[in-house]
């Protein structure tokens, strides 16, 4: 079993894993991405996996800038394609603990095909989707997670499409680990990440996060968005996943929790067993 460190790392320890020379970062005031960054750094520091084996991969977007500020092997690739890049890394070096940070547009809109197939294959990667309901970096267009009715740069009269219910989607596809939190749940995010590092398979975490571009367009202060989250959030690990859609209606709940944690064997584990069975020489 893992030997995680239970104590919260000091600020100096956190800093030791940040590329402080790159500060200030690009994220807007009131953005939630930094909170997830810190939670990840804390989880990495506390994990039993050596720092040099943690790898962070991202596509393009605000959320995807994460590897740029964290002192681990980091790869900031192209929009929507962090998953297949990570699958390549992980498949040839199973010692690596590969974690992806992605915006919702990156992961499930342009990258949706990789998401569904990676879960089906059950790649041994950790995927954190920061859901700000919008394409943040390009100025606030709607994407696959934009709640119906939302005003965005490209849905000025209110969004007419439905949004993905991400935990339901991931669970339905067979992901062995599925959780959802908001940026108000720092402790839970750290805790979830530590569990995700131990999953042999596709571990998925959605984090709901405020984006000033979205809140402005929907006539809310970011702080109101946070208050609203606090008011609407219900922790329910046993929730019926079909109840997890996110709506604009302030009277609806936003259900969070650790929904799925099931036995799993990744594609990579299966492949290396095949190699062994065939007598494949690893240095061949």
């Amino acid at each position: 079993m893992s030997r995680e460190i239970l104590i919260t790392p000091s600020i100096d320890e956190i800093k030791s894993l940040m590329r402080v020379e790159r500060l200030p970062h690009i994220w807007c005031p009131s953005c939630g991405i930094g909170i997830v960054a810190k939670a990840y750094v804390e989880a990495v520091l506390r994990s039993s996996i050596p720092l040099d084996k943690h790898v962070i991969v991202s596509g393009i977007g605000c959320s995807s800038r994460m590897p740029g500020y964290i002192k681990l092997d980091g790869y900031h690739v192209i929009h929507g394609r962090a998953i297949p890049f990570s699958v390549g890394l992980k498949s040839v070096n199973p010692e690596l603990e590969v974690t992806i940070f992605a915006g919702d547009g990156d992961l499930i809109t342009i990258g949706g095909n990789h998401f569904i197939h990676s879960i089906r294959r059950n790649d041994d990667i950790n995927v954190i989707m920061i859901n700000n309901y919008i394409y943040g970096m390009t100025g606030g267009q709607y994407g696959g997670t934009t709640p119906p009715g939302s005003r965005t740069l490209t849905s000025p009269y209110g969004h007419l499409e439905h949004n993905f219910n991400m935990p339901l989607l991931a669970a339905t596809l067979g992901a062995p680990y599925v959780a959802r939190w908001t940026v108000l749940h720092y402790r839970q995010i750290v805790d979830t990440l530590l569990e995700m590092f131990n999953v042999d398979g596709f571990a998925f975490l959605e984090v709901i996060s405020p984006c000033i571009v979205y809140t402005d367009m929907n006539r809310m202060e970011s702080i109101e968005f946070m208050r609203d989250l606090r008011r609407r959030v219900v922790i329910d690990n046993d929730a019926d996943l079909s109840d997890l859609s996110i709506s604009m209606d302030p009277d609806t709940r936003i259900v969070v929790g650790k929904f799925v944690n099931r036995e799993s064997e990744s594609f990579q584990t299966r492949y290396y067993r095949l190699i062994k069975k065939l007598g494949g020489d690893l240095d061949g």
Binding site: R19, R22, D52, K53, V55, V57, I60, P67, G68, K71, L72, D73, G74, Y75, H76, V77, I78, R81, I83, P84, F85, S86, V87, G88, L89, K90, S91, V92, N93, E95, L96, N113, H114, H117, Y271, L274, I275, L278, G279, G280, D281, L282, D283, G284
Partner: protein
């Protein structure tokens, strides 16, 4: 067959071009293949799927070609020689990622077994319409190294060269084949392993704190890979020596210049071509791949009829062997470019040779221009 049916033993084989390419790749050290089915490249993934796990390698059939090439770029960044194989439509999907591989200086090998384009075109038939795409298909300015095999033997030899070039220069390298060469079955000689040059990555020899992934004191900086402790940051954004994004014009130019120079300055070492009866030729046919075989026959036939004709066969498309070509031009000859497209190689030839000296025989995809047609064109050129 070879040991445990994995790496092939030296010897003389009767082998299909696409299969020879797999055998060569494995000898070159390829241990990861990511691909998506497409005719006429399918024999490559089928053989890879069977062989790779036998020698400790990994095969993945991905959900599309974008995923395939991204998987290859990922595996290479873990230090493992990796490749993909595709044809026109798949090669088009890979273009954005080729730019990424160039930008983060990741050695990857792509095999494009060309079919007739555009679009779905002629899936089972030959074409040479992707020549310019191998250098200009992705956005922005970038470099690739491109090998042009014309036989199963060269599918074997050149895939090894492609791996060596990719890992020497940290640049996407393409084996641009075609349906006929890929499917053709011919004699292939596999030399003993000691006689095959295999190049590996230059590893950093400095402490991780001192390591600069894009150190401009090198043309080709040593390459650290994931998990080694160098804690690299690689991005497709324009970046400085540390790999950090920058918009500083000087830094950007310096890095861009180095990335182009690493190929330009090694051009003479990379380029390959072959000449046949060029020494006294008044007309030189320029061709590559399958077309060069038809052209060779046309040259022989023309010689028999008394026409002083030679052949200049491109073995690398990029860098383009313009130096030997311009040397030939100095002997006062004319050129006839024959290719299965509407005019791609001819554009490059005309960059270096005066227009009035360059003739062109374009050909629609689906077949190879027969020697008689090439001969007819030769006669036209001679007889004005």
């Amino acid at each position: 067959m070879g040991s445990r049916d994995g790496i092939l033993e030296p010897g003389t084989y009767f082998m299909r071009g696409n299969d020879a390419c797999v055998e060569g790749a494995l000898i070159a050290g390829c241990r990861f293949f990511g691909g998506y089915p497409i005719t006429p490249s399918n024999e490559i993934s089928a053989l890879m799927a069977r062989k790779l796990p036998l020698i400790g390698g990994v095969f993945i059939q991905f959900e599309d070609e974008i995923a395939s090439i991204m998987g290859v770029i990922g595996a290479a960044n873990a230090g493992v020689k990796s490749m993909t194989a595709t044809s026109g439509p798949g090669f088009s999907l890979m273009q954005e990622a080729i730019g990424l591989a160039y930008m983060i200086e990741t050695p990857i090998v792509i095999v494009n077994v060309q079919r007739g384009g555009p679009s779905t075109g002629l899936p089972t038939q030959v074409g040479q319409g992707d020549f310019l795409q191998t250098h200009y298909g992705s956005h922005g300015d970038y470099m690739t190294i491109v090998y042009l095999p014309n036989s199963p033997q060269e599918m074997f030899d050149m895939i090894i060269k492609a791996f060596n070039a990719a890992w020497t220069y940290r640049v996407p390298t393409i084996l641009l084949s075609d349906q006929m060469v890929g499917h053709m079955i011919e004699r292939v000689v596999i030399p003993s392993l000691e006689d095959i040059l295999v190049v590996d990555r230059v590893k950093p020899d400095v402490d991780p704190e001192k390591y600069l992934p894009f150190d401009s004191k090198y043309l080709v900086p040593p390459m650290a890979v994931a998990g080694e402790g160098y804690r690299v940051h690689l991005t497709g954004l324009a970046h400085d020596e540390r790999g950090y994004p920058t918009t500083n014009p000087e830094t950007v130019s310096k890095q861009y210049e180095r990335m182009a120079e690493k190929i330009r300055r090694n051009e003479d070492r990379i380029i390959e071509w072959e000449e046949y009866l060029t020494h006294d030729a008044e007309l030189i046919i320029v061709a590559f791949g399958i077309t060069s075989r038809s052209a060779l026959k046309a040259v022989k036939d023309a010689r028999r009829l008394g026409y002083r004709v030679g052949l200049f066969r491109l073995k690398t498309g990029w860098p383009f062997p313009w130096k030997p070509l311009t040397r030939l031009a100095e002997q006062g000859c004319r050129f006839l470019v024959v290719e299965i497209n509407a005019g791609q190689v001819v554009r490059i030839v005309r960059e270096y040779i005066p227009n009035e000296l360059v003739y062109h025989l374009p050909w629609h995809p689906g077949s190879v221009p027969p020697p008689e047609i090439i001969l007819k064109k030769i006669r036209e050129v001679f007889n004005g």
